[in-house]
Symmetry: C3
Subunit: 153 residues, 3 copies
């Protein structure tokens, strides 16, 4: 099954390709690796969640925010590659959670990104992950997710 | 001298391979690179240190915590590779220090990871490093360490 | 035009190669990739800015600090490579902004790094970027910047 078919089966519509917030590009391809810039919890330029997980937002809301971040990464990838079927493996996910004081469940929040990658890509979606807290994130996004991806050769 | 012999000489016993806290895997190998997920200061699932360096913990305790994180990375690597003798170079270490307000000695803390890598691997352990503070980390770990490693070909 | 000529044209003098704050090295080259360690806002060992952007420092000061961090990365690269003309592409920039409570303009701060890379390298300077806030950074630097670079083969 192609990734596109899998997305349809899961009822997932990718958000429009996110526009960089600064003087950088959403993806850089080097040989068969693609580096995807950090993405926030917005769709079409509109923030879907704002604030700190553990005070402003629940873990469940953070989970949803992380999912949006991951889908923004995939949207940027698709824009760059033409098709997500070119992905051989999601290698690494960097996840930053805008964390209230005393909030230590960053992994549960970032499962929102990891789970959707596994659903969409299966084994190819199994990635290493760096999950940490951050005291503030761009535009007060509750989560920021970046990734490194390997392409089929 | 093999890395295993070196570990014995140094009296270092690797912790058991750490279990991921979420929907990811401890390592991903892509050609001759291995990406190791962020590891915390636990041994066999039990946190050895908790809290913020600079208030709950001293620099020395943070240093010990960073060492445990690095050894967890090596344990995950060994689990994946069979032997640490396959390591050609520790390329990059990402280190996050759970930091109390006003604490700015993250490099001293992360030397706990860097020093042990140099002791074990010698020149092959010389890595680039990103050392930053974080307001909160998973399970209140004082340190989180991830790495990228190159294998012999 | 060579990168050196471009630097002269822009009136930019690279800072002296920064010395690591700990037990690591400023750059690691692996095949045609170079990983540059996290750099702070110092020149010749002297901090040029300190403190949190959004309280101690303005966005404009943070922007200048980010520029210094990026130039330190380039200085380390030049020290390692002999010449910046060997750079094929700036792949990825990691940027951490020492952020006051409620400060969410990390991208504007890190444009100080991104803009100078674009000015110096043109299209080759177009990078993916991870921009996040941090509650504390080494030596109270307002910004820390690291990068991954591809070399010409």
């Amino acid at each position: 099954m192609s990734v596109e078919e899998r997305l349809r089966e899961l009822g997932i519509e990718l958000p429009p390709p996110p526009k960089p917030l600064g003087a950088y590009v959403p993806t850089v391809q080097v040989d068969d690796l693609v580096f995807v810039a950090g993405m926030k919890a917005s769709i079409g330029g509109e923030m879907k969640f704002r604030g700190k997980v553990g005070s402003d937002l629940t873990v469940e809301e953070g989970y949803e925010a992380a999912k949006i971040c991951a889908l923004n990464c995939l949207s940027a990838l698709k824009e760059a590659l033409g098709s997500l079927d070119k992905v051989e493996r999601i290698i690494q996910v960097f996840g930053f959670v805008n964390s209230a004081e005393g909030f230590n469940q960053q992994p549960k929040v970032l499962n929102g990104a990891s789970d959707i990658l596994l659903k969409i890509f299966g084994e190819k979606g199994q990635h290493a992950r760096i999950a940490v807290g951050s005291n503030e994130l761009p535009e007060d996004s509750p989560v920021e997710v970046a990734m490194i991806v390997k392409l089929k050769t």
